[in-house]
Structure formats: C-alpha cells, structure tokens
C-alpha cells in the first residue's frame, strides 16, 4: 500500500482498530439482546426493540449528537465512565462506541433471526438431559446460531468501517485518535480535486470490507455445514 500516505495509513489502522473493538465488545450484548428479544416475553420488550433500532432510523448526525449529550465529558454516562477511568470523549474508544452503537441494530437483527430459526425442541432436549438454561444456550443454541452470529459480527464490522456521521459528531476527527477512514474520505471530498485521494481510500475500505464479507461467508458456511452435518 505504498500509494497511501502516512496519514492515510494511520486512518486505516485506526479504522481497523475501532471497528474490531466496536464489534468485539458489542457482540456479547448483541447476542444477549437478540436472545432476549427472540425468546423472552417481558414488559418493555418492544421498548428495548425500538431502542436498539434507533440508530438505524435516526440520521447519524442526530445519533452522534445524542451520544455527545450522554457520553460527552459533561454527559451523565460520560461522567460515570470517567469516574471508572474510561474516557471516551475524543478518544478512539469513543469512535468505537459510536461505531458499535450504529452497528448494533444490524448485529442484533442478524443474530435474532438465527435464534428464531433454532427449534426450541432441541433446547428442550438439552434441558431434559440436565443442562441448565445457560448451559443449553452455550452448548446448543450458540453453536447452532454461530453462522448468524458470524454474519452479524462481520456485518457490524463492515458497518463500523463505514460509519461516519455519528462518529465525527461525537468524537470529532482528530488524526491518530478519531480520524477514521470515512472521515478522511469525507475531508477529501470537500475540497475541489480531492476525488483521487478519496477514491484511493474508498478502494481500500472496499477491499477490507469485501475481505471481511468473504471471510464471513466462508466461516459461516463452514459453521452451517457443521450444524447441518457436513
């Protein structure tokens, strides 16, 4: 990638890191929320469902602004996190938070659909054999939804790689800290003649996202074959 400048390489590295952690950290929550939505009936279920989908529906800028209000230095959750020693404002962690939240609905949907496709009769069979709910989940449900989880995770990763509006509004665009690939692309597109540089970066993101996608197809197919019996 000799044709990428150091700043661009830095943005690429940062985007990868941000997307990776955004995906990894949200994954357990994604699985939990998807499971709750798919299998439990509780008051507020529809509310939770709506909340999860909010970032999909809102213009990203609005999401970013809301993040700023709640997770910013003065925001209630921001203060709380700061007391725990976690600063997200203007850090790559904040970029990851924004990317994770924006990607969350996609992840949850993919996982939820695959949970709904698991026959509860198999989970019942696990229970009769002595496995507690948690164990049934870990040994029956989770392995069976693995293709969906992988698909959801990679989808979230791809989305995180492309996230721009919420990220720049929430944590700005500090080179080396929060300047992700899409922010760089955006900046290039603002000035006349920036198309070439923008194209280079877009090509890089496409390659990465397609690679992730291919990987997810492959891993997902392998997992599906394992499930349905090779």
């Amino acid at each position: 990638m000799g044709w990428l400048g150091p700043a661009e390489l830095e943005a690429l590295r940062l985007s990868l890191r941000v997307s990776f952690w955004a995906t990894l950290v949200t994954l357990p929550f994604g699985i939990f929320v998807a499971y709750a939505l798919a299998r439990w009936r509780f008051p507020g279920r529809q509310l939770l469902n709506g909340l999860v989908h909010l970032p999909l529906i809102l213009p990203p800028v609005v999401t970013g602004y809301l993040l700023l209000l709640t997770f910013g230095i003065q925001g209630p959750l921001g203060k709380l996190l700061a007391e725990l020693g976690i600063v997200v404002a203007f850090r790559w962690t904040g970029a990851a938070l924004a990317a994770g939240i924006m990607a969350f609905p996609l992840m949850v949907r993919a996982i939820r659909l695959s949970i709904e496709a698991v026959d509860p009769k198999l989970e019942q069979a696990g229970a009769t054999l002595g496995a507690s709910r948690l164990f049934v989940f870990a040994t029956v449900t989770l392995p069976m939804i693995l293709p969906g989880v992988i698909a959801g995770a990679i989808l979230a990763f791809a989305k995180a790689m492309g996230e721009f509006g919420a990220t720049i509004t929430f944590v700005s665009n500090i080179p080396g800290q929060t300047q992700t690939l899409p922010s760089a692309v955006y900046a290039f597109l603002q000035v006349p003649g920036g198309e070439n540089a923008a194209t280079r970066l877009v090509v890089v993101s496409i390659i990465i996202a397609m690679g992730a996608l291919l990987l997810s197809e492959y891993v997902g197919r392998r997992a599906a074959e394992r499930v349905s019996g090779s």
Partner: protein, 232 residues
C-alpha cells in the same frame, strides 16, 4: 410566474428562507432552495443539476464551476462575508480582539479546540490560516477537534465537550450555551466570501433573484443573521 431553483450552502438556510418568501411575495416567482454542503451542490451542478442560482460558502467551488463554464461568469458576485470568532462556555472570560500574545493553551487547559475540518471545510481552513498567522497553530495543533461542519464544532462547545471553539459569528450568536470570547482580525485569513452566480442554464428569473439578494431588504436580513456585508 415562474420558478427559481437555488442551490445554497446550508449555513444560509435561515436567511434565505426569509428572503425567498419575500421575493415570492413581491414577484410571484416561486423560489425553491436546496441546502447542502457547498461541495455537494457544486458537484451536482457539475453533473447537470437543474439549479438556476448557486450560492457557495467559499470561493474555491465557485472557481471550479466558473472554470468549467457552468456559471455565467458575469453574474458572479461576492454576496456575503462573515467573521471568525472564538467561542467558549459561559464561565469563560472574553478577550475582545484576538492577538498573537493570547495564551490559547492556558485557556484550553488541556481540553480541545473545536473547529470544522481544517483542510476541507471553509471555516476550518480560515481558522487554521488565522492560527498560523498568529503563530498559535503549532501550539494547539494537537488539541484541535475537527468536525464535518461548523455547527458540529459549535455543539462540542455548547455541550461542554470542548472548552473553546472557532466558528462563524453568524453561528455563534444564537447558541445560548456559548459566548463569543473574541473575534479574529479579518486580515489573518483569506477573506470569508460567499460568492453567488447564475448557472449557465439558469432561467431569466434567476438574475432577478440574484439582484434581489443584493437589495436593501435582503441585506437587512443577512445582517440580522450575523453575516458581514461586503462594501459596508
């Protein structure tokens, strides 16, 4: 009566909405304005958008269109100007005119200076030039938080995420949670100019609208919104 389609930088929305309806009342011509980033609108015009008038937030994109003969060069005017201001939270103290001896780092106190993208968005480009000319750039460079537009930078200061920010005066004056700490001398950066022109395929009424924009009632509205008026 006919229609005029105006492509205008988004920061002009408040003023143009008002001026547009005044114009409609006076002439019966219907004015429709599409607000977006100047870069977006310029590209659309390059690719044949049916705009009659283009009002850009900077001269670069207008130059590009002029080079490509997409605007009628003889209709081009420098419609508006603006001033760059330093803003801060309500507990900050004002400094008036900003000078080279200002201790910006101390005022930041380790926090960030919110600006629009310093290499891409006009407000950021102007701000960077001003800081460079004041020799403050090196000192605060690493503390600059850039956003994709001025309003987002304003929001960073308004929500307390950043103690200070550099925005247009027209933006700063309505946000209650911030105060203008000082104004940058306008000779520190290229002049802030909002050029306007009729597109090559612009309808005849477009010129009438452009003329109206430069008339007294229109200038009053712009001034109300905090814009500077060239030649005054």
């Amino acid at each position: 009566a006919s229609e005029v389609l105006v492509f205008a930088a988004a920061s002009l929305k408040n003023a143009l909405d008002k001026i547009g309806s005044d114009f409609e009342r006076r002439t019966g011509h219907e004015v429709t304005v599409s607000y977006a980033a100047s870069s977006v609108l310029a590209r659309q015009i390059q690719l044949g958008a049916p705009a009659d008038v283009f009002i850009s937030a900077n001269v670069d994109w207008m130059d590009v269109l002029q080079d490509q003969d997409q605007i009628k060069a003889n209709t081009r005017v420098d419609l508006l100007g603006n001033r760059l201001v330093l803003i801060g939270g309500p507990d900050q103290t004002g400094v008036g005119e900003i000078r080279a001896d200002m201790d910006l780092s101390a005022a930041l106190d380790g926090g960030h200076l919110a600006m629009a993208l310093v290499d891409a968005v006009p407000a950021g480009i102007y701000g960077k030039a001003a800081l460079q000319n004041l020799a403050l750039w090196e000192e605060v460079q690493s503390q600059i938080a850039q956003t994709d537009n001025v309003r987002a930078a304003l929001a960073l200061v308004a929500t307390g995420a950043a103690p200070l920010g550099i925005v247009y005066r027209s933006d700063a004056q309505v946000e209650e949670r911030v105060q203008v700490l000082g104004t940058f001398p306008s000779d520190l950066h290229l002049p802030i100019i909002y050029p306007a022109a009729v597109t090559t395929w612009g309808r005849p009424e477009a010129q009438a609208f452009l003329t109206y924009l430069q008339s007294g009632p229109a200038r009053e509205v712009f001034a109300d919104q905090g814009f500077a008026l060239p030649g005054s």
